[in-house]
Symmetry: C2
């Protein structure tokens, strides 16, 4: 609470609209060729052990950037993926990646699923490189993007994928148009919801242009305890019903007891399309997620009107999704390069 009101005062949380530029690390500049290669890799199931799982299997670019499931299925039908899949849209703006912030960049992040036994399941970097080396089209394209010698490496794979992800951004929401001066872009309910978000304290955590931090630097991470008001009576009921206190969150990363149940504050951009909600995907509807936030983070019970207005505002944070062409995945004429897994 102290933190919430403190930050709420310190930062002009609703003063900006969608960032004009996506942050790009100095050692991985964006080029159209790298974006194109990254897109191929992002959609290529040959990057998984079984040969049928790509990044897109869990993070659907044609949909909301997730798969809409409470918990994803993993490679080879595994059902032990421990956390809900967040969207890849606007992940480029996250200062750290994963619910617990354990990756400092999109580049670092992408190594996770590739070699996570329950996600894409590749045994090691060499297996990934070997798979790609067998595909002449990739040998050529990595050479063009990264230089001719030994250009297929895990480092380059994740650099290309991260570069593609930096194109998956959704500007031009009704809220952005409203902030740019088009006062008709949001209706009165949404405007009321915007003010509720500010005055009630939501915007202390859901701050800044992406509604996820009050100006935190890339690589740093802005974490908050969830549930913060664990003794609030309404919250207790939610925690029980939706199993919200099982995941130790950032504690898994730092082993610091102070970080127990700390989670990265997620952006509210496109949140209306991102059901189900929270790190375990247990809450199916946005109005319920809003009530839970009010009870568990602010110790407040909301009126139906407040919920309605806030949900209306959150709906106006839905941006324009990019129109994309499909990549063509390079082939290997005359032979199958998959392992015989079935």
């Amino acid at each position: 609470m102290v933190l919430a009101s403190g930050l709420g005062g310190a930062f002009p949380v609703l003063a900006n609209s969608f960032p004009a530029k996506v942050p790009v690390p100095a050692d991985n500049p964006m080029t159209p060729q790298k974006v194109a290669l990254g897109k191929q890799l992002y959609f290529d199931p040959r990057l998984s052990l079984s040969g049928d799982f790509s990044c897109d299997t869990c993070h659907r670019v044609m949909g909301n950037g997730s798969d809409g499931l409470p918990l994803s299925f993993g490679v080879m039908g595994r059902v032990d993926v421990p956390r809900h899949t967040p969207t890849v849209y606007n992940a480029a703006f996250n200062t750290v990646q994963f619910w617990d912030g354990r990756a400092k960049s999109l580049e670092d992040q992408a190594k996770g699923p590739l070699m996570n036994p329950v996600e894409m399941g590749m045994p090691n970097a060499k297996a990934i490189v070997d798979r790609l080396e067998q595909i002449p089209g990739y040998r050529k394209e990595f050479g063009l993007v990264f230089g001719q010698k030994d250009s297929i490496s895990l480092e380059h794979v994740v650099q290309a994928i991260a570069t593609y992800e930096r194109t998956l951004i959704t500007p031009d929401s009704p809220y952005d148009r409203y902030m740019a001066g088009d006062k008709k872009a949001m209706n009165t309910a949404a405007v009321a919801g915007m003010h509720d978000l500010h005055t009630m304290g939501c915007a202390a955590c859901h701050a800044g242009m992406m509604f996820d931090n009050p100006g935190t630097k890339m690589g740093t991470g802005f974490f908050q305890k969830f549930p913060l008001q664990a003794h609030n009576q309404e919250c207790v009921a939610y925690v029980h019903k939706y199993d919200l206190d099982k995941d130790p969150g950032r504690f898994n990363v730092t082993k610091n007891p102070a970080d127990e149940h700390d989670f990265k504050v997620p952006s509210l951009r496109n949140v209306a399309l991102r059901a189900p909600y929270f790190h375990n995907g247990s809450v199916a509807s946005l109005p319920t997620a809003v009530r839970i936030m009010a009870a568990c983070q602010l110790g407040k019970s909301l009126s139906d009107k407040q919920v309605h207005d806030i949900v209306a505002f959150l709906g106006d944070l839905t941006g324009k999704f990019p129109k994309e062409t499909m990549p063509r995945l390079p082939q290997t004429p005359g032979k199958a390069i998959m392992m015989q897994v079935a």
Copy 2:
């Protein structure tokens, strides 16, 4: 053999190039809106029980129209998909669908995977319709394409998907350019391979513009026994090594003992990209598949040069794949519509 040479004489097998038009049934005319809707449905994992399997999961439009696996994984990690996944590219030209020809049209075919327990696993037509009815974008689009009343039905779902599939065709291969008069489009090895295919008897079965039948009518099917020369010594060894005599093929459909081990003759268009080969996906390389065909269908052993030439020709049957835009899948703001399966 009788059949092979008989047909070989009767039909001008190499006299035409890629069909100028795709066959369209009178009761399902193609419109751009229907194609767009069909594309969304084709890529939408919400058409599967688990919510993470679409047609594209097994039939990758960005790749070769299959998944490159000997046998696909089914919904919820099932590994009992009994046959190798054929490509969806140019399936519009098949006179019947499936290895055993059990569907007479693309429309009929699409019902199969949707409700097949090991593929997409939907329990019945009602479950599919209910799922789609919850998505406002689909209610609107089905209305526009099929008329406003009760427009979401299994019949319309498969009509739209089939319409999209009719756009997945690959004209303009080197062979087509060669046939159109560009004699430089194929090299001497490929030209020799083309003649081998003709004189050797392959083209008796792999006949016509798609190399799959000698002019068979849509809905009819052209089936051949595989292995036909089951006593040929080289064939016996292949059958044993690649487990080629386990699947009763068309017998499953007709229960006629004469149809045992009969399979639809597959098109050779894009076959170089379609490894692994045969109804069980057991053969990883095209040269081996060619040797097996010669031994098991013609009772012939090929020289290395013959294999080389035939493979060169088959490589020149690779057409141009369509450049496609990605569909945007309609969303359901504020709520998750998946069942909680994990």
